[in-house]
Amino acid sequence: NAGVTQTPKFRVLKTGQSMTLLCAQDMNHEYMYWYRQDPGMGLRLIHYSVGEGTTAKGEVPDGYNVSRLKKQNFLLGLESAAPSQTSVYFCASSRGTGGGQPQHFGDGTRLSIL
């Protein structure tokens, strides 16, 4: 009964380093999302995907790239990490849209950029 699984849970990077966050869902959901959550700013959408092989920009896409090569996985990449990218990152998935389907969230990745 895993749902949405994010790895890693914590990571500390130096400015300029690169890394990839992995999100995996076992609910056969079409839609997947990456958010960042910062104090006082709620959840902001970085990128999302409406199906395997597709990606789209969200509200704050700069500095991030994503890939959805397999339906169950959605990867978020930071090519050259910056201190402004210190945040908690959440992945979510949903069955579809229509009138809106509830999104199911992972437990988050806490990322610190020094």
Partner: protein, 109 residues
Amino acid sequence: EDKVVQSPLSLVVHEGDTVTLNCSYEVTNFRSLLWYKQEKKAPTFLFMLTSSGIEKKSGRLSSILDKKELFSILNITATQTGDSAIYLCAEFSGSRLTFGEGTQLTVNP
């Protein structure tokens, strides 16, 4: 640009109190409004309200949607310490959610 505003941003109450959390929205293509509860980790889904379902209730929690005035409220009656969390409101239009800042609710014994 879609916008969701929640109030208050934080609230401290005693067990047994009733609380009302507010969410107003400005959207161009409204489809639905969702409420989530976030404790230490992942936000968990509470309610979804659409034009065909403007009132929802589950135990001590209830929510209504006013599509004319563009707001929603979440009520929690007989609060318990386990209700302490951040409550997030989100509006859905098109293919994505727009979240408000959240209301941090603290319920003291």
